[in-house]
Amino acid sequence: MTMSESLLEVKALKVHFPVNVGLFARPTEFVRAVDDVSFTIAPGETVGLVGESGCGKTTLGRAVIRLIEPTGGQILFDGMDLVPLKGAALRAQRRKFQMIFQDPFASLNPRAKVENIIGEALDIHRLVLNATARRQRVESLLQDVGLEAAHAQRYPHEFSGGQRQRIGIARALAVQPKLIVCDEPVSALDVSVQAQIVNLLRDLQQEHGMAYLFVAHDLAVVRHISRRILVMYLGRIVESGEARSVCQSPRHPYTQALISAVPVVDPKLKRRRMVLAGDVPSPIHPPAGCPFHPRCPVAEARCKTEVPALREVESGHWVSCHLAK
């Protein structure tokens, strides 16, 4: 894939949060939530982002669409760097990238009707000329996500979790974005509803052609929808590649552990379960060398001192591990 083909190109993105904020003291310690992350997303592509809780995947997803201020790096969207943008210039760009949130009970304004929740997007970017056009657009968006036009006059608390998530999807679709960051869009839902929402997202993508950055901790869901997968550990990307290649022949020991944790349907199938020892180290004081070495089952001496770079072990398959072949 060449540079010009990519819709989103993230270069060396860093998000560091100061730990000790005082009135006079300068912050001396930082949580390195996202540390030196680079990746690209092509138009219409779905890229999965996986990792355990606290690895920085939500922060990365939010930083990419400038909901969290990046500390450093570049976010090239259609060739334009979003990082230096501020105020009205940034708000104008927001039409191009949207977000679907994790908790459908928190992401809809409880005091607004569905019509106004979805219509707000249309109002902000002046996408409709009058109230009639606005109502029609909202109703057609509701139908696009599998709800009924009459639902426009209701309040969020009158809906189930799955229906609320559909409203959230309709809101993101309203501005016809080129990229939607899906931040764990199904992890708060019942398993039976999860599949419906994932399939809805895939159908909408086929119809409208937007790209997804699909953030999740559930590898099974991500594998189902994504073309490529990024695996994140402690604020860094440790492995990336085609979904099938990453899932079938994971090179990084962390990815191998993640994949061995995915439950399989067949109870007779015997698997070697790879259980990691210890906890995720503090992102305030990440370990020297490879950030994964304290938990790595195959770590060597040099893993404790040398930071492994991402290298291509196979066409399009990148791993940051000294030992991966």
Partner: protein
Amino acid sequence: MLSNFGFFKTSLQPVSANRLAAAGAIILIAFGLLALAAPMLTRMHLLHAPDQQDEQGLDTDGLPHPAGGAYLFGTDHLGRDVLSRVIYGARVSLSVGIAAMLTATVIGVAVGLLAGFYGGKLDLVLMRFTEMNMTVPAILLAIAFAGLLDISGRTIHLHPAWLPWHFLEFTLKRGAVSVFLIVGFVCWPGMVRVIRAQVLALKEREFVLAARSLGASDSRIILRSILPNLLPTVIVLAVMSTANTILLEAGLGYLGIGVPPPAPTWGSMISEGQPYFITYPHLVIVPGLAIVLTVLAFNLLGQGLQEIVDPKQRR
């Protein structure tokens, strides 16, 4: 759960179901109706005018009537009907109290919103300013403000002396307007902390983030996402603070720096009746009861609304 309670869609049913709120509401509605109807009752000769000095208002020795005779609540030292003065006093006290509450609410909500939403240095400055105001007792601050004004009026310049912006000048006389402004300017700090805390919680909610990601400006987020969700808190605070503003208005009236006579106010009635308290206790007790009942009613209603808005707080 807060999100399941829509102030505008649900009827007043929860108010009638909550005993505290219902009791407060009934007292206030009764007082309000009486106050509104007072001039009409006077025209229908059912109620004396508040400043009417009746020939029969004083007995043959020139002394006031005690309560319970021809005059339900007796007469005062000038032969005026105390019942009438208490009812007309309700017009002053309620309107000044509510206008002051609105003033305080607008200032308190604005300061709390800005401090909570923008945080950082603005928060620091606004909150220290608020705390500064809280350290001075409200009544002292109100006396200081009231002392600046007199009956003849004083021109207030809201522009620097070297700019000829005469439209920013206005004359303020001591009267109902100045009293509600003074009370309002003194009562706002109590609201700020609660509003700010609520805004701090609201702005981290995902629907605010969603509005931001849609490209909503700060003012749009404040008006469409934060303020509607703040409304239940604001209403509870406003009702509760009306008890304070009415008490403060009565206090200023008692000290002789409230709404000036001959307008009857509950505070000034108490101070006028004070010298005769031993022989004619009704002169103090009747307006005193009016104040106590009104303040109690606002507190009951406020507490009841609080329970409706946040059932977890029920004790």
